[in-house]
């Protein structure tokens, strides 16, 4: 079971374990899907196959699926395997509300850019919006900070490096 130190500060609890199981399952499903795609590629390549474009993907996705399976089994087998929780609670563990809103902001930012909104408009909007939401108030300071960051980006990327937005 994954046990990297960066997670020491959070307590898992039932919701956390449920979320963890869900994530491990997701990893397995993704691995299996990738393996399926690689298999399809393998079958559509003419021999010799060992040196074809499908060889490495096949090996690697097989390893992925195997490791994900072992991982899932390990998680279920360990002491954390027990305890069920509501789907919503597990989701909330995985994506705390603050983060969920930030992700929405990111999605909105990407959508704006995709729709063709000028970078110079979308970026300050995103910055100002997220900062205000996260800081709860301090609108003036955030405006200034937005200006500084945008100014920095424009200076370095547009002026110096000529990146065209």
């Amino acid at each position: 079971m994954p046990d990297n130190k960066s997670n020491d500060t959070t307590e898992y609890g039932d919701a956390g374990h449920a979320a963890e199981r869900g994530f491990a399952l997701a990893l397995l499903l993704l691995g299996a899907a990738a393996f399926g795609m690689s298999l399809e590629l393998w079958h559509s390549t003419p021999p010799p196959r060992a040196s074809s474009a499908a060889a490495l993907p096949l090996i690697v996705t097989a390893l992925w699926t195997l490791a994900a399976l072992l991982n899932l089994v390990g998680i279920f087998r360990s002491a954390w395997g027990g305890g069920s929780a509501h789907f919503i609670d597990a989701l909330r563990f995985a994506i705390p509300p603050r983060l969920a809103l930030t992700l929405l902001a990111v999605a909105a930012y990407c959508a704006l850019l995709l729709l063709g909104v000028s970078f110079y408009l979308a970026t300050p909007l995103f910055l100002f919006g997220t900062m205000c939401f996260l800081c709860r108030g301090d609108y003036v300071k955030n405006l200034i900070r937005t200006a500084v960051v945008t100014g920095f980006i424009v200076l370095v990327f547009r002026v110096l490096f000529g990146v065209v937005f």
Binding site: Y120, V140, L143, I144, L155
Partner: protein
């Protein structure tokens, strides 16, 4: 001007921030308002408002291949020279990937207003037959064709073969045993391999590498038996005796390597495909206004004629052509016809 503006902005914001810390509310609001106005004005000037004669703003030069590569090295100096007659900057961007089709797609997606130039090599002429992209050079107008290069067949210094004929004979006796290092499907050695198969029937085992330099290294190190090398890539190794050129893919010897026989000496049938070689040019999307194309052609022609640039081309061993308009279009059309013909005859493509 923009640098000053941004620097001013940063200083101004620093002052504003400090003012803010001392808690003078009104001033803060005013400062914030001023900042917003500044950002909006930046957006306005950053935006592309085209009006007036061409060019009214900077032009993008999209290079198909990586920084430091053959195409890039020719385009950057040319662009800086052309900037002088155009009056606006040509900003070079390298957009690599998928044999240059990413760059081609980008220029094709952009409006046909002459502000996005495709700076490429010969590969786009074959995109459709290689199923790399639906685009070809038919979708672009050539503003300036710089020139082309001569290539030759090269082997390592320890190779037992002393002439192209011997190589062909050995390959014909045992097809697929001699290894040719290539730069992948659609690359230079692959194309020449097709020509060789069509005319002589010799077939080699193609081993792909990721660049000209790696393919050449493979032959130098002995991992492969032969490769197809541009004069520019192989000249120094030839002079040092590390690489031996068995023949040049041309009808006449090349001035930089006068001792290497042209391929037509042993196989006159190649004549129908020659002259042939990778070429480099500047293109715009088809449908661009004729006046714009004209302005670009004139600027680049002037740049190409520059003595310093000509010296550089000679240093790169590029055969200067300097074609524009119909001449360029005809060159590309006949290049494509010959190459596709050989590819079909040799079975490289169906």
């Amino acid at each position: 001007m923009k640098i000053l503006a941004s620097a001013f902005c940063s200083c101004y914001n620093n002052i504003v921030y400090n003012v803010g810390k001392r808690g003078m509310r009104v001033k803060r609001v005013l400062a914030a308002a001023a900042t917003v106005i500044f950002i909006l004005s930046l957006a306005a000037c950053g935006g592309n408002g085209a009006s007036g004669a061409y060019p009214s703003r900077d032009i993008n030069g999209i290079v198909q291949w990586g920084a430091g590569g053959g195409t890039d090295s020719l385009m950057r100096p040319l662009a800086s020279l052309a900037e002088k007659s155009l009056g606006k900057s040509i900003v070079i961007k390298n957009m690599t990937g998928a044999t240059g089709s990413i760059a081609a797609q980008y220029v094709s997606d952009a409006p046909a207003d002459g502000y996005n130039l495709l700076m490429g090599a010969e590969n786009p002429a074959l995109y459709d037959v290689l199923d790399i992209s639906a685009l070809t050079y038919d979708d672009f107008d050539c503003v300036y064709l710089i020139g082309d290069e001569t290539v030759g067949i090269a082997v390592g210094k320890d190779s037992p073969y002393t002439s192209f004929g011997e190589l062909v004979a050995a390959a014909s006796a045992a097809p697929g045993t001699l290894k040719i290092s290539t730069t992948g499907v659609g690359g230079l050695p692959w194309e020449v391999g097709a020509f060789i198969k069509d005319v002589t029937g010799a077939e080699f085992l193609q081993v792909p590498y990721d660049s000209d330099a790696s393919a050449k290294m493979a032959v130098l190190g002995g991992e492969c038996d032969l490769t197809v090398c541009k004069v520019q890539s192989g000249l120094e190794d030839y002079r040092a005796g590390e690489l031996r050129f068995l023949c040049m893919f041309s009808s006449a010897p090349v001035s930089a390597m006068p001792d290497v026989a042209p391929v037509t000496v042993e196989y006159p049938d190649f004549e129908k495909y020659l002259p042939w070689g990778p070429f480099y040019g500047v293109f715009v999307k088809k449908g661009t206004d004729a006046a714009v194309i004209d302005a670009l052609s004139r600027a680049f022609s002037e740049a190409g004629q520059d003595a310093g640039y000509q010296d550089m081309l000679a240093g790169f061993n590029v055969n200067f052509l300097g074609l524009t308009g119909d001449d360029a279009a005809n060159y590309i059309a006949s290049w494509r016809e010959g190459t596709v013909g050989a590819l079909r005859n040799s079975g490289a493509i169906s």
